[in-house]
């Protein structure tokens, strides 16, 4: 009775196959657009090696920062109800629904204010590598918070309450009972934030610029190549991004399942 041959399951399997098939067809078309020789020549260039390294480093830092922020924010939103809770909940999703370019403009304008100038005296963000990380983080954190919120909503509060009756402080109950149970969720949030950061283009371009060998990350490399008609270079970098994303996501998922 539960056979996949039933019309209902067949329909669902067909939709899944069509969707995945379309994706695979796109990837195959992109992969065959350029030759291996041309691709390796592009990828070994100094500029692309720099933007690859910068992408890997900035994505990792912004993913870590996203999880560090996402855990307390999501825990608060999941466990406590207070006046303005729904409003704050909606506000936390703003970076998810805003066009990424708008986020970049908001960042740029904020750092033109007095507060922004003071911050920049300590850490310069505009058109720097720190700015690349901040632009990636602002959006990636929203996705990490959404992921962690689901994780904490799913974990019952009762074990923490039992820990409190055994003499634990709030912090001890959180760090010794809830946080270990949320490990897989934290890996999921980090991988979502990492993947999101890797693909971030609009805010990075507006806020950190696209200066070669300085603030150029892989999506900006694709855009720069495309804008001057160097299609092979754009395709080579795109393929590299696809490979990096798949390797990182598969590794993180495998690691998450083991933990």
């Amino acid at each position: 009775m539960n056979s996949l041959r039933q019309p209902f399951w067949l329909c669902l399997a067909l939709i899944t196959t069509l969707y995945l098939g379309f994706w695979l067809a796109m990837l195959a078309a992109t992969a065959t657009y350029t030759s291996l020789g041309d691709m390796s020549q592009v990828l070994m260039s100094r500029e692309i090696r720099y933007s690859t390294m910068l992408s890997l480093v900035t994505c990792t830092v912004s993913a870590l920062l996203s999880v560090i922020v996402a855990v307390p924010v999501a825990y608060l939103m999941s466990r406590r109800r207070f006046s303005g809770h729904s409003l704050i909940d909606a506000a936390l999703d703003i970076p998810i629904v805003l066009p990424p370019m708008v986020v970049g403009i908001c960042l740029l304008i904020f750092f033109q204010t007095t507060a922004g100038h003071y911050i920049e005296k300590v850490v310069p963000f505009t058109y720097t590598i720190a700015g690349v990380i901040l632009a990636q983080f602002v959006i990636a954190a929203a996705f990490a918070i959404r992921t962690m919120r689901g994780v904490f909503d799913h974990l019952p509060a009762r074990p923490e309450e039992v820990a409190l009756t055994l003499g634990a402080t709030r912090w001890e109950a959180f760090s010794q009972v809830t946080l270990p149970a949320a490990r897989n969720g934290m890996f999921a949030a980090a991988s979502v934030a990492w993947a999101r950061s890797l693909g971030e283009f609009g805010p990075v371009l507006v806020f950190a610029g696209a200066t070669r060998m300085k603030t150029e990350v892989l999506p900006t490399s694709v855009w720069m190549a495309w804008s001057v008609g160097e299609l092979e270079q754009g395709v080579a970098v795109s393929l590299l991004m696809i490979v990096i994303s798949m390797v990182v996501l598969i590794s993180v998922r495998a690691m998450g399942e083991r933990i």
Binding site: L155, P156, R158, P159, E161, V162, A163, L164, T165, L166, G167, A168, T169, E172, Q176, V177, P180, A181, R183
Partner: protein, 215 residues
């Protein structure tokens, strides 16, 4: 001894209206009531997990109304045991003593003692996943007893267990109460549990509690 004086609580769906009752020291009290009448809320207020709108809570003659859950000297066993998801049974039971930074050998010896008493010695290295309902409740009971509480609070500990397991746990709860000489408040909607265990039977209905001591 557990004494509640004029406890008031308001929530959507039910109101506790100046609830007062007492379970004498070293007595097994059972609080009965239909689902949704506020039994668990009342227990959570005694635990210190919720603050009553008004009224006072006394445990062993001490006013604990404003004390934190950890300062009340209670043991708490929630409905499904609420075991810590990532800890082995040994760590679960020793959790309270570990928080107090007691020496490792003292923790080990107390854990072994309680594991033997609650008959979970063979489960000490297991994680909660895969334990049966009865095993989970035994572990939760051992964990609650580790701090040598004067008051034990049980929230429907036998719900969703089969009858044989219920009988086993009933015998364990009776033995535990007598051996440790503690005051127990056991929340349930089962008349059978109330009849078998309750030295003092309390009925929560329409926001107030009536008391009955079986002859």
């Amino acid at each position: 001894m557990i004494r509640l004086e004029n406890i008031t609580w308001k929530a959507p769906g039910f109101v506790l209206n100046e609830v007062s009752f007492e379970v004498p020291a070293s007595t097994y009290g059972v609080l009965m009531g239909k689902t949704g009448t506020g039994k668990t809320t009342l227990l959570e207020m005694i635990c210190g997990l919720r603050t009553p709108v008004s009224g006072r809570i006394f445990l062993v003659e001490v006013d604990v109304t404003s004390l934190s859950p950890g300062q009340r000297g209670i043991g708490y066993v929630p409905q499904d045991g609420a075991l810590f998801p990532t800890m082995a049974v040994r760590e679960q039971i020793g959790f309270g003593l570990r928080l107090q930074k007691q020496p490792a050998d003292a923790i080990l010896s107390r854990v072994s003692e309680l594991a033997e008493e609650t008959r979970v010695s063979h489960l000490l290295d297991r994680k909660p996943q895969g334990l049966s309902g009865g095993e989970k409740q035994r572990v939760a009971l051992a964990r609650a007893l580790i701090m040598r509480p004067k008051v034990l609070l049980l929230d429907e500990p036998l719900a969703s267990l089969d009858e044989d397991t219920q009988d086993d746990l009933i015998a364990l709860l009776q033995r535990t109460q007598q051996d440790h000489g503690i005051t127990v408040l056991h929340v349930t909607h089962s008349r059978r549990e109330a009849r078998t265990l309750g030295q003092v039977q309390l009925q929560l209905e329409n926001g107030s509690v009536s008391s009955h001591t079986p002859g």
